[in-house]
Amino acid sequence: MNRTASIFLKRLGSLLVTLVIMSLIIFLLVEIMPGDVAQMILGQSATPEAVHALREARGLNDPVMIRYFRWVTGVIRGDLGDSIYMQGVSINSILWRKVGHSLILALTAFIIFVPLSIVLGVLAGVKKEKPTDSIISFLGLATMALPEFVSGVFLITIFGVQLKWLPIVSIIPIGESLFENLNILLLPALSITFVMFGYVSRMQRSSMIQVLDSDYVRAAILKGMPRRYVIFRHALKNALLPTITIIGMNIGWLFGGLVVVETLFGFPGMGSLLMTAIKTRDVPLIEACVLLITVIYSLSTMITDMLYSYLNPRIRFAGGQK
């Protein structure tokens, strides 16, 4: 337990370092970007005075470091700043609602792909080199690197355009909440599921095969334990461990995928918000989104790590050989 706690502290420390560096990178990146935010806001007919005035008003004329520290101190106080377009409208008021939506979408995808890919991955591993395995493995291969928007387009064509079962746009009607419109989650979540299924099921398959090939599984079989029992009691627990890490690490991909999927379906989440922010060069919003993705991703890997170390007795009870 102690060990888990120390892992937690270590990860927390590195998370902070990560965030600081990340924030600096984003900030500098935005700094070198060509074009002018103020010009962007004011458009073609902007007067030079207008541009200058706007820069002044939004504090864009201050030196980078001052702006950076202003921003960082704000973030520490929980104030992500204002959207560049909306004086007085804090990013906090824009972002969190969308983050909530994205998390629900991610969770939906999670609920679909995690059991699906683990079950099928285990099945493929157990039925190694049999037709069942070939089919599952091919599906995994085919979906693994298929961009979300491609599978999304196929899904839209089938379920939205041809069958008309599901809405092809995932917009929440005004005055209603996401929970009243859960059907809009399905197609985007399925698009994400495709890619994730590919990754996770393949990983699960190979770790299952590796575990089934291990000495201790052999030992269990030679102890006369029935095959089914060996698979569930002896193999599965060990075979799931690497998968947990893989799922944790792929949360990053998942968030990349969210941007694409949300853009494709017009889903009001963080991904489409980031896309809008990029298109409109809403610098504080870009910074906030990227920072948040970093936090979510780092937190999820941290939780994965801890879960892993908790489930793995080798780490949980790491002690001398006594």
């Binding site: 079989i221 002896h234 009870f317």
Partner: protein
């Protein structure tokens, strides 16, 4: 039919691979009576494990099994997978080589033991636990109640293996198969396990199949011996017969190539078997050993029937030593005399290598005190043997000398020059003078370079021989020196057998004519037959060139054979130091004594009582105050042992050890 436990009839196992189908077990017939113990012996790759797994009906998917395996009259090969479950672990149990990977890391020891009882004997959880504790007690494991709550990684290798054996005897099986259960363990641990296996046999009356490549081990636990070569049984009979009157040329060669029983380099040269085990396709016939046999005749091409040599003694060769009388057999078994070459007077020489208060601490957060305050000196032209259990710091010492690490403290003087620095600071001269040969030749040769590149590189770098033609000439002569031909130049390491690889490694070390070669267990990864040839080679080279060796091994027989002086190490410290004859004769340091007693003897007539060393090496992460051996010492004097570092007991100019026990006759 009969009351045999096991009858294997004409068993054939072949594997389908990319290179075609080859036979791993060929026409093996074997019977095992109740309470009988058979030892199966043979070099690596001879199909021993395959045979064992076939009995358990656990073979790879690319295997084809033919024949019959009858367990108490029931043919196991005809059983369904489900029916087999009731045999496995219940009536036939098996223990394998690697205990640490055979236990499930995610489950507690107790769980893994209990499930056997729960499944096979339908016990309740509590009863199963009781049975498990009992089995653990039977294996002499202290604190069984604590052990069952632990996970495998929290337990040392020796105890893990004892748990595996306990698991195997839970259901009181009729037959137990042990596949090299002690190969991965230290001799002292091995001795304990062999001991308990023998005790179990007495108590439980079960039949045993014990697989090993070590004749000493087989000698200890088996009544009958089966010698396998390349998938076939070449000889079979009571162990006394086989060890004393080996009939088949292979058995004979195998027995003779081991350095043992006081054989030393001055008076003997080890027997060797040329060549290596070649896989044979299923259609090839004839004597499998024909290509390596010194008694080879054209008729060997067609396989011969098993032939009864004596009552219960069979062999599959009819001519080799058939006509030899008993005396001749013994004579042939004795290693040939070697032309003794006198060692030059090195007495007044300055030592070539001098180690002064050498220390090595690994890591900074988690410290490992690997070598603690060692001082020793090596004279030019002699062989210093370093022996000790795994983890005692032998390799670390050798590696510091060769410059892989910088010592944490202390000095290494080479020809009076301080070389206690790492490789990147050493002069080319020093690098050239000290060479290192590793344990695993497969890993010490770059798999993507050719033999020529491998040997040429140090010549180019350190001897500054820049002409490729000149280098090639030298390489060819080096290859000849290590009994390899010119055709090896363009081969890559994975095209060579283990022995050939080690020869290439030796050639590489010799290529720049060093003054000192550190040999870090150069033969432990090799089969006995290959070990013999490598030892011979090293010995010959040493005589030819008067090179100095720092020879590291955990095998006291090998050390005894090759060394002039011996250093026994324990937990990073020197226990005993002296010339070979001094160390090998009493009085001993208690650890040396235990080590010597633990070596399994090949001669079935000699009976030895090993000194049981319980426990394991002290935690290398802590600095030891007293005698490091105190925790396991059977002759501990008192609290002083664990509190005060023992003084040096000097028995002669060259012989000393560190112990609180006063020299003199053993006090018991």
């Amino acid at each position: 039919m009969n009351d045999n436990i096991l009858d294997i009839e004409h068993l054939n196992v072949s594997f389908k691979t990319f290179e075609g189908e080859f036979a791993a077990v060929r026409d093996v017939s074997l019977s095992l009576a109740l309470d009988e113990s058979i030892g199966i012996i043979g070099e690596s790759g001879c199909g021993k494990s395959t045979l064992a797994y076939s009995i358990m009906r656990y073979v790879a998917s690319n295997a084809v099994v033919e024949g019959a395996i009858k367990f108490k009259g029931e043919n196991l090969l005809e059983k369904s997978e489900q029916e087999m479950s009731s045999f496995r672990g219940n009536r036939i149990a098996m223990v394998y080589q690697n205990p640490s990977s055979s236990l499930n890391p995610a489950l507690t020891i107790g769980f893994q033991l209990d499930e056997v009882g729960i499944f096979h004997q339908k016990l309740s959880k509590e009863k199963a636990r009781k049975a498990s504790l009992e089995a653990l007690k039977m294996m002499n494991i202290g604190d069984p109640k604590g052990i069952v709550r632990r996970y495998p990684h929290q337990i040392s290798g020796g105890i893990q293996q004892r748990i595996c054996i306990a698991m195997a005897i839970l259901c009181r099986p009729d037959l137990m198969i042990l596949d090299e259960p002690t190969t991965a363990l230290d001799v002292t641990t091995e001795a304990i396990i062999l001991d308990s296996i023998n005790k179990l046999r007495e108590k439980l009356h079960m039949s045993l199949i014990y697989i090993s490549h070590d004749m000493g081990v087989i000698n200890k636990v088996s009544d009958q011996v089966v010698v396998m070569y390349n998938g076939e049984i070449v000889e079979q009979g009571p162990k006394e017969k086989i060890f004393e009157h080996p009939f088949h040329p292979y058995s004979r060669a195998l027995i003779n190539c081991m350095p043992r029983g006081g054989i030393v380099k001055e008076n003997t040269r080890l027997n060797t078997i040329p060549g290596y085990v070649k896989r044979r396709g299923i259609i090839e016939s004839g004597c499998p050993y024909a290509d390596r046999c010194d008694q080879h005749t054209p008729t060997c091409e067609s396989m011969l029937m098993f032939r009864q040599v004596d009552n219960l003694h069979y062999a599959s060769c009819d001519r080799a030593y058939a006509k030899d009388g008993e005396e001749l057999v013994i004579k042939k078994r004795t290693p040939r005399k070697r032309i003794p070459k006198h060692i030059e007077e090195t007495e007044d020489n300055e030592p070539l290598l001098e180690i002064l208060n050498l220390n090595k601490v690994y890591g900074s957060l988690r410290k490992v005190y690997a070598v603690n305050d060692i001082s020793v000196s090596v004279k030019s032209g002699t062989v210093l043997g370093i022996v000790g259990e795994s983890g005692c710091g032998k390799s670390t010492t050798g590696h510091m000398v060769s410059g892989l690490f910088k010592p944490t403290k202390g000095k290494i003087l080479f020809e009076g020059k301080d070389i206690s620095i790492a490789w990147n600071k050493r002069s080319a001269e020093t690098l050239k003078d000290i060479q290192l040969i590793f344990q695993n030749p497969g890993r010490s040769l770059n798999p993507s370079h050719t033999v020529e590149q491998i040997i040429a590189r140090p010549m180019k770098r350190l001897s500054k021989i820049n002409s490729a033609a000149e280098r090639r000439k030298l390489i060819v002569s080096l290859l000849n020196k290590v009994d390899l031909g010119e055709e090896y130049l363009l081969k890559k390491p994975n095209q060579l057998s283990g022995g050939e690889q080690q020869r290439v490694a030796i050639a590489r070390a010799l290529s720049i004519s060093p003054k000192l070669i550190v040999c870090d267990e150069p033969t432990s990864a090799l089969d006995v037959s290959v070990q013999a040839s490598v030892l011979n080679l090293l010995n010959d080279l040493q005589i030819d060139t008067q090179i100095t060796y720092l020879f590291i091994s955990h095998d006291l027989n090998v050390i005894n054979y090759l060394s002039d002086t011996i250093m026994v190490m324990y937990a990073g410290k020197i226990c005993e130091f002296g010339t070979r004859d001094e160390v090998m004769a009493p009085p001993y340091h208690p650890y040396t004594e235990a080590l010597l007693s633990a070596i399994p003897e090949v001669d079935p007539t000699k009976k030895k009582d090993p000194i049981r060393l319980e426990g394991s090496l002290p935690n290398p992460g802590k600095k030891q105050k007293g005698c490091p051996f105190a925790s396991r010492c059977p002759r501990k004097v008192g609290a002083i042992c664990s509190n005060v570092y023992p003084p040096m007991v000097k028995l002669s100019d060259s012989h000393y050890y560190y112990c609180h026990i006063k020299p003199g006759p053993k006090q018991d």
